[in-house]
């Protein structure tokens, strides 16, 4: 009886509890999203109105050579980071896991340390280390390639270099995810498989890998989304240069919006990036899930 009488009150409480979130969400997410969609069909500047021009922005974008260069660079960057960082993190996690107690914590802390640095510090460290004249890593280049290389000013070296910096910076988090995944595999499965006659490699391929697959799929998907959104490192290290050889989609958005004052055009690009990320990540996650079920 009491339940029925309190229904109205119940609803009121529920409403007041979700209202703050809904309000904030509407203000800082839903409204801007709708505005971006609307802006992408106008020739608006960053601030102020603009006229409705239909699909003009999109037509322009599809004819923009820089868009294709940036798209290609985004793809190249994903290739350089997503799978390598996953493989490296898995290897590190497998090694760290074999350490005991205190040593494990220490090793994990060391690998995680770069992740807590802000991006500007990370890029500054690497800019110094790779400095053409005084960089501590240049002797290494001299030994391998024969001459020092201004990596962030060289069209061939710039993307791989940014990729290395990115992997170094974000790898600790993936190690952490893998380590959590590895700890979830009960140790008696390894004992059972040892009794069943599995070698270390067979234990990895037949026990660890299939049971870790959900974590691998998660890491790959998170990395894919993260690396498609690459901006800060490029902006801070090479500013898209030289000759747009490290230009990426979000850098294009930034330039169009905040340097060229083309709010409408920038909105169109960011919407395309958004749809691209959604499409690719959903596709990838589904593919990985199917493989996982096998």
């Amino acid at each position: 009886m009491a339940m029925i009488r309190n229904q109205r009150r119940h609803r009121l409480v529920a409403l007041t509890l979700i209202l703050p979130f809904v309000a904030v969400f509407a203000l800082v997410f839903a409204y801007p999203l709708v505005e971006v969609v609307r802006l992408s069909f106008t020739n608006a500047t960053l601030i102020g109105g603009g006229e409705w021009i239909g699909l003009q922005n999109y037509r322009e974008l599809l004819a923009d050579k820089l868009f294709y260069t940036s798209l290609k660079n985004n793809g190249y960057f994903m290739l350089l980071t997503v799978i390598p960082t996953t493989v490296i993190a898995l290897c590190i996690a497998l090694m760290v896991q074999r350490l005991s107690g205190r040593m494990q914590a220490l090793a994990l802390a060391l690998f995680f340390l770069p992740y807590i640095l802000p991006v500007s510090v990370v890029t500054q460290i690497w800019a110094w280390m790779l400095d053409f004249q005084f960089g501590i890593l240049q002797p290494l280049f001299e030994r391998i390639v024969g001459k020092p290389i201004p990596v962030f000013k060289n069209p061939y070296w710039v993307m791989p270099s940014v990729a290395v910096v990115t992997i170094w910076w974000t790898n600790g988090f993936n190690v952490l995810l893998f380590l959590a995944g590895l700890r979830n595999i009960p140790s008696d499965l390894y004992e059972a498989s040892a009794l069943d006659g599995a070698t270390r490699w067979q234990q990895f391929t037949r026990v660890t890998w299939p049971l870790l697959w959900p974590v691998v799929a998660l890491v790959l998907t998170l990395q894919l989304i993260l690396q498609l959104k690459i901006f800060d490192q490029i902006y801070l290290l090479s500013e898209g240069g030289p000759f747009n050889s490290s230009s990426v989609l979000l850098l294009m958005v930034y330039r169009e919006a905040f340097q060229q004052n083309n709010g409408g055009y920038a909105s169109a690009i960011s919407l395309v990036v958004f749809l691209l990320i959604v499409a690719v990540s959903v596709l990838q996650y589904q593919l990985l899930r199917i493989r996982g079920r096998r």
Binding site: E191, A192, L195, D196, L211
Partner: protein
């Protein structure tokens, strides 16, 4: 030929000696049970036989081969874990065939063996399911099936029934007994439950503090324990212990003053008068009588056919005695109990048996 032979086996983790100089033999085809309270080293000992723990000292032989330093897979043992340790991503059939796949057994043979094991364990309808879709008892049977297909010389069971509910546990106990008769392999079984030990074992090894206290057939341990620990551990409800003092000798043994009652005990040795002893009497051997040790009945556990009377000595100790077929209630009453001289065990205050 012998099944499993342990000679002076020892194991220490750092400075802690977990297993101290254990020597024992489980004959080929026998069902041996390691039983003891938690922390007695029984699981460690089993894992040493399996090769999952290093052996610090001594030798382990399986089927006449010294396997002390052999890797687990080559010892000819299969183990059933307490947690079952089934591969969650594989079907029941794949779980059972796992070791055969690793050994590159032909597909036909693999299927034949898995089907045979499934038939024995009544798992034929579940071969395509994943472990998560099975009940506890079925998972347990898959774990056993995984051991069977390997056709090992020795089966090792590490508390395999402790995750099952009471009813299922009794059922699986019977199935294990039947399985042992059916395949006739050597089996070693670890449990802390002395009922499991009594019902399954050909030979029980009672462990405490990393060493074997006594070994032998279940009824031998029950009737003739070597020390107070074994006497108290084997049997349910446990044996009653009453402090007493030797007050005289009889032709067959001694007379003991225990609490307020005088008790005669058959004994070959004749401990000196005045010596403190501990009498051990099983619940079924205590009967109400005109004279004897006085107890106050506090509670009755009526089981229908028999009843366990929980009662208290004047000095505070617990006494349990059994009654059969009587229906009158004794709660709150004072009862005098006696036992036949031949049914009373006598221990020193240190816990050693006096014979």
């Amino acid at each position: 030929m012998s099944g499993v032979v342990l000679r002076n086996v020892a194991k220490s983790f750092g400075a802690v000696n977990v297993i101290k100089d254990v020597s024992l033999t489980v004959n080929k085809g026998e069902f041996g049970v390691f039983v003891g309270p938690s922390g007695c080293g029984k699981s460690t000992l089993l894992r040493m036989i399996a090769g999952l723990e290093d052996t610090t000292g001594g030798t382990i032989q399986i089927g006449g081969r010294d396997v002390t330093h052999t890797e687990p897979a080559k010892r000819g043992v299969a183990m059933v874990f307490q947690s079952y340790a089934l591969y969650p991503h594989l079907s029941v059939a794949e779980n059972m065939a796992f070791s055969l796949r690793l050994a590159r057994t032909s597909r036909d043979e693999r299927e034949r063996k898995v089907r045979e094991a499934a038939r024995i364990l009544q798992l034929t309808d579940h071969l395509d399911k994943r472990p998560a879709e099975l009940s506890g008892g079925q998972r347990q049977r898959v774990a056993i099936g995984r051991a069977i297909v390997r056709e090992p010389e020795v089966f090792l069971f590490d508390e395999p029934l402790s995750n099952l509910d009471a009813e299922l546990r009794v059922q699986m106990r019977l199935e294990l007994s039947r399985l042992h008769q059916q395949i006739g392999a050597t089996m070693i079984y670890v449990t802390h439950d002395q009922v499991e030990a009594m019902t399954l074992a050909d030979e029980i090894f009672v462990l405490k503090g990393g060493s074997v206290q006594q070994s032998g057939a279940p009824l031998h341990l029950y009737d003739d324990p070597d020390n107070r620990f074994v006497a108290g551990f084997i049997g349910s409800p446990a044996m009653n212990f009453i402090n007493g003092r030797v007050i005289g000798h009889t032709p067959q043994g001694i007379r003991v003053l225990a609490e307020d009652g005088e008790v005669e005990v058959d004994l070959e040795t004749r401990p000196a008068e005045g010596m403190a002893v501990v009498l051990g009497i099983r619940p079924e051997h205590l009967v109400p009588a005109e004279s004897g040790i006085t107890v106050t009945v506090e509670m009755a556990e009526e089981l229908g056919g028999n009843a366990y009377m929980h009662s208290r000595l004047p000095s505070g100790g617990d006494i349990v005695f059994e009654r059969r077929g009587e229906r009158d209630r004794l709660e709150g009453q004072n009862v005098r109990l006696r036992a036949e001289a031949g049914h009373i065990h006598c221990f020193t205050t240190e816990g050693l048996r006096l014979r």
